[in-house]
Symmetry: C2
Subunit: 297 residues, 2 copies
Protein backbone atom coordinates (compact mmCIF):
# COMPACT_ATOMS: atom_id res chain seq x y z
CA UNK A 1 0.00 0.00 0.00
CA UNK A 2 1.40 3.38 -0.96
CA UNK A 3 0.25 6.60 0.60
CA UNK A 4 2.22 9.80 0.28
CA UNK A 5 2.24 12.41 2.98
CA UNK A 6 2.31 16.07 2.01
CA UNK A 7 3.72 18.07 4.91
CA UNK A 8 1.89 21.42 5.10
CA UNK A 9 3.29 22.75 8.40
CA UNK A 10 5.33 25.58 6.83
CA UNK A 11 2.23 26.73 4.94
CA UNK A 12 -1.17 25.86 6.45
CA UNK A 13 0.43 25.43 9.86
CA UNK A 14 2.39 28.66 10.16
CA UNK A 15 -0.25 30.62 8.27
CA UNK A 16 -2.57 30.17 11.23
CA UNK A 17 -0.15 30.61 14.11
CA UNK A 18 0.00 33.77 16.23
CA UNK A 19 3.77 33.87 15.98
CA UNK A 20 5.24 35.57 12.90
CA UNK A 21 8.31 33.67 11.71
CA UNK A 22 10.87 35.28 9.42
CA UNK A 23 11.38 33.80 5.94
CA UNK A 24 14.83 32.63 7.08
CA UNK A 25 13.37 30.71 10.03
CA UNK A 26 10.62 29.26 7.84
CA UNK A 27 13.28 28.06 5.39
CA UNK A 28 15.14 26.42 8.27
CA UNK A 29 11.88 24.70 9.22
CA UNK A 30 11.55 23.44 5.65
CA UNK A 31 15.15 22.19 5.70
CA UNK A 32 14.55 20.28 8.93
CA UNK A 33 11.43 18.67 7.49
CA UNK A 34 13.20 17.89 4.21
CA UNK A 35 15.69 15.69 6.07
CA UNK A 36 13.12 13.41 7.75
CA UNK A 37 12.24 11.18 4.82
CA UNK A 38 9.13 13.21 3.94
CA UNK A 39 8.93 13.40 0.16
CA UNK A 40 6.75 16.45 -0.26
CA UNK A 41 6.58 19.70 1.67
CA UNK A 42 4.29 22.66 1.01
CA UNK A 43 6.71 25.43 1.86
CA UNK A 44 4.98 28.72 1.03
CA UNK A 45 1.84 30.47 -0.10
CA UNK A 46 1.78 33.02 -2.92
CA UNK A 47 -1.04 35.10 -1.58
CA UNK A 48 -1.36 38.78 -0.77
CA UNK A 49 0.90 39.37 2.28
CA UNK A 50 -1.43 42.13 3.44
CA UNK A 51 -4.22 39.59 3.77
CA UNK A 52 -2.02 36.74 5.05
CA UNK A 53 0.92 38.38 6.83
CA UNK A 54 2.33 35.08 8.14
CA UNK A 55 3.18 34.09 4.55
CA UNK A 56 5.02 37.32 3.66
CA UNK A 57 8.35 36.73 1.98
CA UNK A 58 7.30 33.55 0.19
CA UNK A 59 9.92 34.11 -2.52
CA UNK A 60 12.67 34.33 0.10
CA UNK A 61 11.53 31.07 1.73
CA UNK A 62 11.66 29.34 -1.65
CA UNK A 63 15.09 30.78 -2.49
CA UNK A 64 16.55 29.96 0.94
CA UNK A 65 15.21 26.45 1.54
CA UNK A 66 17.78 23.95 0.31
CA UNK A 67 16.77 21.64 -2.52
CA UNK A 68 17.02 18.02 -1.38
CA UNK A 69 17.11 15.08 -3.77
CA UNK A 70 13.87 13.11 -3.59
CA UNK A 71 11.98 15.88 -1.78
CA UNK A 72 9.47 17.96 -3.73
CA UNK A 73 8.82 21.51 -2.61
CA UNK A 74 5.31 22.73 -3.38
CA UNK A 75 3.54 26.03 -2.79
CA UNK A 76 -0.04 27.23 -2.61
CA UNK A 77 -1.61 29.58 -5.13
CA UNK A 78 -5.18 30.87 -5.26
CA UNK A 79 -5.17 32.48 -8.70
CA UNK A 80 -3.05 33.10 -11.84
CA UNK A 81 -1.25 36.04 -10.20
CA UNK A 82 -0.06 33.70 -7.46
CA UNK A 83 1.12 31.17 -10.02
CA UNK A 84 3.15 33.84 -11.81
CA UNK A 85 5.04 34.44 -8.56
CA UNK A 86 5.53 30.71 -7.98
CA UNK A 87 6.81 30.29 -11.54
CA UNK A 88 9.86 32.39 -10.68
CA UNK A 89 10.89 30.00 -7.87
CA UNK A 90 12.36 26.49 -7.64
CA UNK A 91 9.05 24.97 -6.49
CA UNK A 92 8.24 21.92 -8.59
CA UNK A 93 4.56 21.87 -7.77
CA UNK A 94 1.71 24.37 -7.64
CA UNK A 95 -1.11 23.54 -5.28
CA UNK A 96 -4.12 25.58 -6.36
CA UNK A 97 -7.06 25.81 -3.96
CA UNK A 98 -10.57 27.19 -3.99
CA UNK A 99 -13.69 26.74 -1.84
CA UNK A 100 -16.54 24.63 -3.16
CA UNK A 101 -19.23 26.88 -1.69
CA UNK A 102 -20.10 30.20 -3.25
CA UNK A 103 -20.21 32.28 -0.07
CA UNK A 104 -16.94 30.91 1.33
CA UNK A 105 -15.10 31.25 -1.99
CA UNK A 106 -16.27 34.82 -2.52
CA UNK A 107 -15.25 35.76 0.98
CA UNK A 108 -11.94 33.90 0.88
CA UNK A 109 -10.80 34.51 -2.68
CA UNK A 110 -13.04 37.32 -3.94
CA UNK A 111 -14.23 35.15 -6.82
CA UNK A 112 -17.17 33.00 -7.78
CA UNK A 113 -16.66 29.25 -7.82
CA UNK A 114 -17.06 29.37 -11.60
CA UNK A 115 -14.26 31.93 -11.90
CA UNK A 116 -12.00 29.78 -9.71
CA UNK A 117 -12.68 26.70 -11.82
CA UNK A 118 -11.74 28.73 -14.89
CA UNK A 119 -8.53 29.77 -13.11
CA UNK A 120 -7.72 26.11 -12.52
CA UNK A 121 -7.55 25.52 -16.27
CA UNK A 122 -5.13 28.38 -16.80
CA UNK A 123 -2.91 27.48 -13.86
CA UNK A 124 -2.73 23.78 -14.77
CA UNK A 125 -1.85 24.63 -18.36
CA UNK A 126 0.84 27.12 -17.30
CA UNK A 127 2.31 24.70 -14.75
CA UNK A 128 2.47 21.88 -17.26
CA UNK A 129 4.06 24.17 -19.86
CA UNK A 130 6.68 25.01 -17.20
CA UNK A 131 7.30 21.34 -16.35
CA UNK A 132 5.56 21.58 -12.96
CA UNK A 133 2.92 19.42 -11.38
CA UNK A 134 -0.44 21.02 -10.54
CA UNK A 135 -2.55 19.80 -7.66
CA UNK A 136 -5.98 21.23 -6.89
CA UNK A 137 -7.56 21.39 -3.42
CA UNK A 138 -11.33 21.64 -3.05
CA UNK A 139 -11.62 23.53 0.22
CA UNK A 140 -14.62 23.07 2.51
CA UNK A 141 -15.56 19.82 0.79
CA UNK A 142 -17.16 18.50 4.01
CA UNK A 143 -18.76 21.56 5.50
CA UNK A 144 -18.78 25.33 5.13
CA UNK A 145 -18.98 27.90 7.93
CA UNK A 146 -21.61 29.82 5.96
CA UNK A 147 -23.56 27.12 4.15
CA UNK A 148 -23.40 24.17 6.56
CA UNK A 149 -23.01 20.58 5.42
CA UNK A 150 -21.85 20.43 1.80
CA UNK A 151 -23.61 18.21 -0.74
CA UNK A 152 -21.09 15.58 -1.91
CA UNK A 153 -22.73 15.64 -5.34
CA UNK A 154 -21.66 19.26 -5.73
CA UNK A 155 -18.10 18.45 -4.65
CA UNK A 156 -17.87 15.51 -7.05
CA UNK A 157 -19.18 17.65 -9.90
CA UNK A 158 -16.43 20.19 -9.25
CA UNK A 159 -13.87 17.39 -8.95
CA UNK A 160 -14.93 16.25 -12.42
CA UNK A 161 -14.41 19.74 -13.83
CA UNK A 162 -11.00 19.98 -12.17
CA UNK A 163 -9.99 16.56 -13.53
CA UNK A 164 -11.13 17.63 -17.00
CA UNK A 165 -8.91 20.70 -16.66
CA UNK A 166 -5.92 18.37 -16.33
CA UNK A 167 -5.13 18.53 -12.59
CA UNK A 168 -2.49 16.01 -11.53
CA UNK A 169 -4.16 15.44 -8.17
CA UNK A 170 -7.41 16.41 -6.44
CA UNK A 171 -7.45 16.99 -2.68
CA UNK A 172 -10.67 17.12 -0.66
CA UNK A 173 -10.13 19.48 2.27
CA UNK A 174 -12.02 19.45 5.55
CA UNK A 175 -11.04 23.06 6.06
CA UNK A 176 -13.10 23.66 9.19
CA UNK A 177 -12.71 20.17 10.68
CA UNK A 178 -16.29 18.90 10.65
CA UNK A 179 -16.06 15.80 8.46
CA UNK A 180 -16.80 12.20 9.39
CA UNK A 181 -15.55 8.97 7.82
CA UNK A 182 -18.60 8.26 5.72
CA UNK A 183 -18.16 11.58 3.91
CA UNK A 184 -14.56 10.59 3.19
CA UNK A 185 -15.66 7.24 1.81
CA UNK A 186 -18.38 8.87 -0.30
CA UNK A 187 -16.04 11.44 -1.86
CA UNK A 188 -13.18 9.05 -2.54
CA UNK A 189 -15.30 6.28 -4.01
CA UNK A 190 -17.31 8.83 -6.00
CA UNK A 191 -14.19 10.39 -7.50
CA UNK A 192 -12.26 7.17 -8.10
CA UNK A 193 -13.53 6.90 -11.68
CA UNK A 194 -11.87 10.22 -12.54
CA UNK A 195 -8.56 8.40 -12.75
CA UNK A 196 -6.72 11.17 -10.90
CA UNK A 197 -4.79 10.56 -7.65
CA UNK A 198 -6.96 11.69 -4.74
CA UNK A 199 -5.90 13.32 -1.51
CA UNK A 200 -7.33 14.44 1.82
CA UNK A 201 -6.51 17.56 3.80
CA UNK A 202 -7.81 17.02 7.33
CA UNK A 203 -8.14 19.14 10.43
CA UNK A 204 -8.69 17.55 13.83
CA UNK A 205 -11.03 20.25 15.12
CA UNK A 206 -13.66 17.81 16.40
CA UNK A 207 -11.38 14.80 16.92
CA UNK A 208 -12.43 13.13 13.68
CA UNK A 209 -9.24 13.88 11.72
CA UNK A 210 -7.41 10.59 12.28
CA UNK A 211 -10.57 8.52 11.85
CA UNK A 212 -11.04 10.32 8.54
CA UNK A 213 -7.44 9.56 7.55
CA UNK A 214 -8.02 5.89 8.33
CA UNK A 215 -11.26 5.92 6.31
CA UNK A 216 -9.28 7.49 3.47
CA UNK A 217 -6.67 4.75 3.70
CA UNK A 218 -9.40 2.11 3.50
CA UNK A 219 -10.87 3.88 0.46
CA UNK A 220 -7.55 4.03 -1.39
CA UNK A 221 -6.44 7.61 -0.81
CA UNK A 222 -3.12 8.53 -2.47
CA UNK A 223 -2.09 11.62 -0.53
CA UNK A 224 -2.65 12.81 3.04
CA UNK A 225 -1.84 16.37 4.07
CA UNK A 226 -0.64 16.90 7.64
CA UNK A 227 1.42 19.37 9.64
CA UNK A 228 4.23 18.39 11.97
CA UNK A 229 3.18 18.71 15.64
CA UNK A 230 -0.32 19.61 14.41
CA UNK A 231 0.57 23.29 14.19
CA UNK A 232 -1.99 25.70 12.85
CA UNK A 233 -4.41 26.26 15.69
CA UNK A 234 -4.39 29.97 16.30
CA UNK A 235 -4.42 30.74 20.03
CA UNK A 236 -6.48 33.87 19.32
CA UNK A 237 -9.24 31.82 17.68
CA UNK A 238 -10.13 29.12 20.19
CA UNK A 239 -12.34 27.35 17.65
CA UNK A 240 -9.50 26.80 15.22
CA UNK A 241 -7.27 23.76 15.48
CA UNK A 242 -4.48 22.54 13.34
CA UNK A 243 -4.11 19.91 10.71
CA UNK A 244 -3.67 16.33 11.79
CA UNK A 245 -0.11 15.99 13.13
CA UNK A 246 2.35 14.36 10.76
CA UNK A 247 4.11 12.27 13.41
CA UNK A 248 0.80 10.97 14.77
CA UNK A 249 -0.30 10.19 11.21
CA UNK A 250 2.96 8.31 10.57
CA UNK A 251 2.39 6.29 13.77
CA UNK A 252 -1.09 5.37 12.55
CA UNK A 253 -0.01 4.59 8.99
CA UNK A 254 3.01 2.52 9.97
CA UNK A 255 0.81 0.65 12.43
CA UNK A 256 -1.46 -0.17 9.53
CA UNK A 257 1.48 -1.56 7.58
CA UNK A 258 2.00 1.44 5.31
CA UNK A 259 5.62 2.25 4.57
CA UNK A 260 5.74 6.05 4.75
CA UNK A 261 9.49 6.31 4.25
CA UNK A 262 9.63 8.70 7.20
CA UNK A 263 12.27 8.46 9.93
CA UNK A 264 9.97 8.91 12.92
CA UNK A 265 12.74 9.95 15.30
CA UNK A 266 13.91 12.63 12.87
CA UNK A 267 10.33 13.82 12.47
CA UNK A 268 9.87 13.97 16.25
CA UNK A 269 13.01 16.10 16.43
CA UNK A 270 11.50 18.51 13.92
CA UNK A 271 8.28 18.53 15.96
CA UNK A 272 10.24 19.32 19.13
CA UNK A 273 12.08 22.12 17.32
CA UNK A 274 8.93 23.88 16.05
CA UNK A 275 7.28 23.44 19.46
CA UNK A 276 10.17 25.32 20.99
CA UNK A 277 10.09 27.99 18.26
CA UNK A 278 6.37 28.61 18.68
CA UNK A 279 6.60 28.41 22.47
CA UNK A 280 3.25 26.81 23.14
CA UNK A 281 1.90 23.26 23.63
CA UNK A 282 0.95 21.81 20.25
CA UNK A 283 -1.74 19.23 19.45
CA UNK A 284 0.52 16.40 18.24
CA UNK A 285 0.44 13.67 20.88
CA UNK A 286 3.27 11.31 19.95
CA UNK A 287 5.84 13.90 20.99
CA UNK A 288 4.43 13.85 24.52
CA UNK A 289 3.53 10.16 24.78
CA UNK A 290 6.54 8.72 22.99
CA UNK A 291 6.84 5.97 20.43
CA UNK A 292 5.56 2.51 21.15
CA UNK A 293 7.23 0.19 21.48
CA UNK A 294 9.95 2.52 22.69
CA UNK A 295 12.88 2.61 20.23
CA UNK A 296 15.96 0.62 21.30
CA UNK A 297 18.57 2.76 23.06
CA UNK B 1 -26.77 -0.09 13.58
CA UNK B 2 -26.75 -0.27 17.36
CA UNK B 3 -23.76 0.69 19.43
CA UNK B 4 -24.02 1.36 23.12
CA UNK B 5 -21.81 3.85 24.87
CA UNK B 6 -20.60 3.10 28.38
CA UNK B 7 -19.68 6.37 30.07
CA UNK B 8 -16.64 5.80 32.30
CA UNK B 9 -15.87 9.39 33.32
CA UNK B 10 -16.85 8.98 36.99
CA UNK B 11 -14.58 5.92 37.22
CA UNK B 12 -11.66 5.73 34.77
CA UNK B 13 -11.80 9.48 34.27
CA UNK B 14 -11.80 10.71 37.85
CA UNK B 15 -9.55 7.86 39.00
CA UNK B 16 -6.74 9.46 37.01
CA UNK B 17 -7.35 13.14 37.72
CA UNK B 18 -5.21 15.16 40.12
CA UNK B 19 -8.29 16.63 41.75
CA UNK B 20 -9.91 14.58 44.54
CA UNK B 21 -13.69 14.85 44.30
CA UNK B 22 -15.92 13.99 47.25
CA UNK B 23 -18.36 11.07 46.89
CA UNK B 24 -21.20 13.61 46.96
CA UNK B 25 -19.73 15.56 44.02
CA UNK B 26 -19.04 12.34 42.13
CA UNK B 27 -22.67 11.31 42.64
CA UNK B 28 -23.77 14.68 41.27
CA UNK B 29 -21.56 14.03 38.25
CA UNK B 30 -23.26 10.67 37.78
CA UNK B 31 -26.69 12.31 38.06
CA UNK B 32 -25.80 14.88 35.43
CA UNK B 33 -24.60 12.14 33.08
CA UNK B 34 -27.65 10.00 33.79
CA UNK B 35 -29.90 12.73 32.40
CA UNK B 36 -28.21 13.03 28.98
CA UNK B 37 -29.67 9.97 27.30
CA UNK B 38 -26.61 7.83 28.07
CA UNK B 39 -27.84 4.38 29.01
CA UNK B 40 -24.87 3.06 30.96
CA UNK B 41 -22.52 4.79 33.38
CA UNK B 42 -19.61 3.24 35.26
CA UNK B 43 -19.98 5.15 38.50
CA UNK B 44 -17.43 3.72 40.94
CA UNK B 45 -14.57 1.32 41.52
CA UNK B 46 -14.48 -1.14 44.39
CA UNK B 47 -10.75 -1.17 44.85
CA UNK B 48 -8.51 -0.50 47.81
CA UNK B 49 -8.88 3.24 48.55
CA UNK B 50 -5.31 3.30 49.84
CA UNK B 51 -4.09 2.29 46.39
CA UNK B 52 -6.64 4.36 44.45
CA UNK B 53 -7.55 7.29 46.68
CA UNK B 54 -9.66 9.02 44.00
CA UNK B 55 -12.18 6.17 44.23
CA UNK B 56 -12.56 6.28 48.03
CA UNK B 57 -16.16 6.27 49.19
CA UNK B 58 -17.46 4.11 46.33
CA UNK B 59 -20.35 2.89 48.48
CA UNK B 60 -21.44 6.47 49.16
CA UNK B 61 -21.36 7.33 45.45
CA UNK B 62 -23.57 4.33 44.71
CA UNK B 63 -25.99 5.17 47.52
CA UNK B 64 -26.19 8.86 46.61
CA UNK B 65 -26.47 8.71 42.82
CA UNK B 66 -30.13 8.72 41.87
CA UNK B 67 -31.47 5.69 40.03
CA UNK B 68 -32.85 6.75 36.64
CA UNK B 69 -35.18 4.59 34.57
CA UNK B 70 -33.41 3.24 31.52
CA UNK B 71 -29.93 4.06 32.84
CA UNK B 72 -27.73 1.24 34.14
CA UNK B 73 -25.18 2.03 36.81
CA UNK B 74 -22.13 -0.21 36.70
CA UNK B 75 -18.98 -0.40 38.82
CA UNK B 76 -15.51 -1.82 38.44
CA UNK B 77 -14.17 -4.73 40.48
CA UNK B 78 -10.79 -6.43 40.26
CA UNK B 79 -11.42 -9.45 42.47
CA UNK B 80 -14.05 -11.29 44.53
CA UNK B 81 -13.53 -8.94 47.49
CA UNK B 82 -14.47 -6.02 45.24
CA UNK B 83 -17.55 -7.83 44.05
CA UNK B 84 -18.68 -8.46 47.63
CA UNK B 85 -18.67 -4.69 48.19
CA UNK B 86 -20.50 -4.03 44.91
CA UNK B 87 -23.12 -6.65 45.83
CA UNK B 88 -24.28 -4.48 48.72
CA UNK B 89 -25.09 -1.55 46.37
CA UNK B 90 -27.75 -0.76 43.79
CA UNK B 91 -25.33 -1.25 40.85
CA UNK B 92 -26.88 -3.56 38.28
CA UNK B 93 -23.63 -4.49 36.60
CA UNK B 94 -20.17 -5.61 37.67
CA UNK B 95 -17.34 -4.79 35.32
CA UNK B 96 -14.44 -7.04 36.19
CA UNK B 97 -11.03 -6.21 34.71
CA UNK B 98 -7.61 -7.79 34.57
CA UNK B 99 -4.47 -7.28 32.48
CA UNK B 100 -3.66 -9.77 29.76
CA UNK B 101 0.09 -9.63 30.38
CA UNK B 102 1.68 -11.34 33.34
CA UNK B 103 3.95 -8.51 34.48
CA UNK B 104 1.26 -5.82 34.22
CA UNK B 105 -1.37 -7.95 35.98
CA UNK B 106 0.96 -8.87 38.83
CA UNK B 107 1.95 -5.26 39.30
CA UNK B 108 -1.59 -3.90 38.97
CA UNK B 109 -3.63 -6.56 40.74
CA UNK B 110 -1.07 -8.61 42.64
CA UNK B 111 -2.23 -11.76 40.86
CA UNK B 112 -1.19 -14.00 38.01
CA UNK B 113 -3.30 -13.88 34.87
CA UNK B 114 -4.40 -17.45 35.64
CA UNK B 115 -5.62 -16.40 39.09
CA UNK B 116 -7.55 -13.47 37.58
CA UNK B 117 -9.20 -15.73 35.03
CA UNK B 118 -10.24 -18.01 37.89
CA UNK B 119 -11.64 -14.94 39.69
CA UNK B 120 -13.72 -14.14 36.60
CA UNK B 121 -15.58 -17.43 36.96
CA UNK B 122 -16.47 -16.75 40.58
CA UNK B 123 -17.50 -13.15 40.01
CA UNK B 124 -19.65 -13.97 36.98
CA UNK B 125 -21.39 -16.76 38.89
CA UNK B 126 -22.01 -14.55 41.92
CA UNK B 127 -23.28 -11.65 39.79
CA UNK B 128 -25.66 -13.89 37.89
CA UNK B 129 -26.91 -15.45 41.13
CA UNK B 130 -27.61 -11.87 42.32
CA UNK B 131 -29.42 -10.93 39.11
CA UNK B 132 -26.61 -8.69 37.89
CA UNK B 133 -24.81 -8.50 34.57
CA UNK B 134 -21.09 -9.24 34.50
CA UNK B 135 -18.82 -7.62 31.92
CA UNK B 136 -15.11 -8.45 31.68
CA UNK B 137 -12.42 -6.05 30.45
CA UNK B 138 -9.14 -7.41 29.11
CA UNK B 139 -6.77 -4.57 29.96
CA UNK B 140 -3.66 -3.88 27.88
CA UNK B 141 -5.06 -5.91 24.97
CA UNK B 142 -3.10 -3.80 22.47
CA UNK B 143 0.15 -3.11 24.24
CA UNK B 144 1.72 -3.37 27.68
CA UNK B 145 4.12 -0.89 29.27
CA UNK B 146 6.33 -3.80 30.39
CA UNK B 147 5.98 -6.36 27.61
CA UNK B 148 5.45 -4.19 24.52
CA UNK B 149 3.08 -5.12 21.71
CA UNK B 150 0.67 -7.83 22.82
CA UNK B 151 0.08 -10.95 20.72
CA UNK B 152 -3.57 -10.91 19.63
CA UNK B 153 -3.58 -14.71 19.79
CA UNK B 154 -2.96 -14.51 23.52
CA UNK B 155 -5.76 -11.96 23.95
CA UNK B 156 -8.20 -14.06 21.95
CA UNK B 157 -7.31 -17.15 23.96
CA UNK B 158 -8.11 -15.28 27.18
CA UNK B 159 -11.32 -13.93 25.61
CA UNK B 160 -12.32 -17.52 24.94
CA UNK B 161 -11.74 -18.47 28.58
CA UNK B 162 -13.72 -15.44 29.77
CA UNK B 163 -16.59 -16.29 27.42
CA UNK B 164 -16.56 -19.86 28.68
CA UNK B 165 -16.82 -18.50 32.22
CA UNK B 166 -20.13 -16.91 31.23
CA UNK B 167 -19.24 -13.21 30.87
CA UNK B 168 -22.09 -11.15 29.42
CA UNK B 169 -19.68 -8.91 27.52
CA UNK B 170 -15.97 -8.80 26.72
CA UNK B 171 -14.20 -5.45 26.41
CA UNK B 172 -10.77 -5.09 24.81
CA UNK B 173 -8.99 -2.18 26.48
CA UNK B 174 -6.20 -0.10 24.99
CA UNK B 175 -5.15 0.88 28.49
CA UNK B 176 -2.01 2.76 27.51
CA UNK B 177 -3.30 4.20 24.22
CA UNK B 178 -1.02 2.53 21.70
CA UNK B 179 -3.45 0.61 19.50
CA UNK B 180 -4.11 1.03 15.79
CA UNK B 181 -7.18 0.10 13.74
CA UNK B 182 -5.87 -3.16 12.38
CA UNK B 183 -5.45 -4.50 15.91
CA UNK B 184 -9.07 -3.54 16.59
CA UNK B 185 -10.23 -5.35 13.48
CA UNK B 186 -8.14 -8.42 14.33
CA UNK B 187 -9.47 -8.72 17.89
CA UNK B 188 -13.11 -8.07 17.03
CA UNK B 189 -13.23 -10.41 14.05
CA UNK B 190 -11.24 -13.02 15.98
CA UNK B 191 -13.64 -12.93 18.93
CA UNK B 192 -16.87 -12.66 16.94
CA UNK B 193 -17.37 -16.44 16.99
CA UNK B 194 -17.54 -16.41 20.80
CA UNK B 195 -21.10 -15.13 20.51
CA UNK B 196 -20.63 -12.60 23.30
CA UNK B 197 -21.18 -8.84 22.80
CA UNK B 198 -17.78 -7.19 22.31
CA UNK B 199 -16.62 -3.79 23.47
CA UNK B 200 -13.67 -1.44 23.18
CA UNK B 201 -12.16 0.77 25.85
CA UNK B 202 -9.97 3.32 24.08
CA UNK B 203 -7.54 6.00 25.16
CA UNK B 204 -6.47 8.75 22.78
CA UNK B 205 -2.86 8.92 23.99
CA UNK B 206 -1.35 8.82 20.49
CA UNK B 207 -4.35 10.24 18.59
CA UNK B 208 -5.51 6.83 17.39
CA UNK B 209 -8.51 6.54 19.74
CA UNK B 210 -11.22 7.78 17.42
CA UNK B 211 -9.79 5.93 14.40
CA UNK B 212 -9.92 2.80 16.56
CA UNK B 213 -13.53 3.53 17.51
CA UNK B 214 -14.40 3.88 13.83
CA UNK B 215 -12.59 0.63 13.03
CA UNK B 216 -14.59 -0.99 15.84
CA UNK B 217 -17.82 0.32 14.37
CA UNK B 218 -16.88 -1.14 10.99
CA UNK B 219 -16.11 -4.49 12.65
CA UNK B 220 -19.43 -4.63 14.50
CA UNK B 221 -18.49 -3.54 18.00
CA UNK B 222 -21.39 -3.52 20.50
CA UNK B 223 -20.06 -1.25 23.24
CA UNK B 224 -17.69 1.72 23.29
CA UNK B 225 -16.33 3.08 26.57
CA UNK B 226 -15.66 6.81 26.72
CA UNK B 227 -15.41 9.59 29.30
CA UNK B 228 -17.19 12.91 29.01
CA UNK B 229 -14.76 15.73 28.08
CA UNK B 230 -12.04 13.09 27.77
CA UNK B 231 -11.18 13.36 31.46
CA UNK B 232 -8.57 11.05 32.89
CA UNK B 233 -5.29 12.55 31.80
CA UNK B 234 -3.39 13.18 35.00
CA UNK B 235 -1.57 16.52 34.86
CA UNK B 236 1.20 15.01 37.01
CA UNK B 237 1.83 12.25 34.47
CA UNK B 238 2.35 14.03 31.17
CA UNK B 239 2.34 10.74 29.26
CA UNK B 240 -1.14 9.81 30.42
CA UNK B 241 -4.17 10.98 28.54
CA UNK B 242 -7.80 10.31 29.00
CA UNK B 243 -10.32 8.08 27.37
CA UNK B 244 -11.84 9.16 24.11
CA UNK B 245 -14.33 11.95 24.91
CA UNK B 246 -17.97 10.90 24.94
CA UNK B 247 -19.29 14.00 23.18
CA UNK B 248 -16.67 13.71 20.42
CA UNK B 249 -17.55 10.02 20.06
CA UNK B 250 -21.25 10.87 19.82
CA UNK B 251 -20.45 13.42 17.09
CA UNK B 252 -18.54 10.74 15.18
CA UNK B 253 -21.16 8.03 15.68
CA UNK B 254 -24.14 10.23 14.79
CA UNK B 255 -22.23 11.40 11.71
CA UNK B 256 -21.92 7.74 10.74
CA UNK B 257 -25.67 7.31 11.08
CA UNK B 258 -25.63 5.57 14.47
CA UNK B 259 -28.47 6.57 16.77
CA UNK B 260 -26.78 6.87 20.18
CA UNK B 261 -29.88 8.11 21.99
CA UNK B 262 -27.75 10.87 23.53
CA UNK B 263 -28.91 14.48 23.74
CA UNK B 264 -25.69 16.12 22.58
CA UNK B 265 -26.49 19.52 24.08
CA UNK B 266 -27.19 17.94 27.46
CA UNK B 267 -23.95 16.01 27.22
CA UNK B 268 -22.02 19.17 26.33
CA UNK B 269 -23.51 20.79 29.43
CA UNK B 270 -22.20 17.92 31.55
CA UNK B 271 -18.81 18.30 29.84
CA UNK B 272 -18.78 22.03 30.62
CA UNK B 273 -19.71 21.29 34.25
CA UNK B 274 -16.90 18.78 34.86
CA UNK B 275 -14.44 21.08 33.05
CA UNK B 276 -15.29 23.81 35.55
CA UNK B 277 -15.11 21.40 38.49
CA UNK B 278 -11.67 20.10 37.47
CA UNK B 279 -10.46 23.58 36.55
CA UNK B 280 -8.23 22.63 33.66
CA UNK B 281 -8.57 22.40 29.87
CA UNK B 282 -9.77 18.91 28.95
CA UNK B 283 -9.10 16.93 25.76
CA UNK B 284 -12.65 16.80 24.38
CA UNK B 285 -12.77 19.07 21.34
CA UNK B 286 -16.46 19.45 20.55
CA UNK B 287 -16.97 21.58 23.65
CA UNK B 288 -14.46 24.10 22.28
CA UNK B 289 -15.29 23.85 18.58
CA UNK B 290 -19.06 23.57 18.87
CA UNK B 291 -21.56 21.38 17.10
CA UNK B 292 -21.79 21.35 13.33
CA UNK B 293 -24.04 22.37 11.85
CA UNK B 294 -24.70 24.72 14.74
CA UNK B 295 -27.98 23.85 16.49
CA UNK B 296 -30.93 26.14 15.67
CA UNK B 297 -31.41 28.91 18.23
Amino acid sequence: MTVRICEVGPRDGLQNEAEQLSPRLRAEFVDRLSSTGLRRVEIASFVNPERVPRMAGAEEVCATAKPVAGVEHAALVLNPRGYERLARTRCVEARMAFCVTESFNRRNQGRSVEQSVADVGGIVAAAHADGRRASVTLAASFGCPFEGVVDPGRVLDLAGQVAAAGADEIVFADTIGVGVPRQVTRLLTGAAALGVPLGLHLHNTRNTGYANAYAGLEAGVSVLDSSVAGIGGCPFAPNATGNIATEDLVYLLEGQGVDTGVDLDALLSAAAWITEVLGRPLPGQLLRAGRFPAPPR
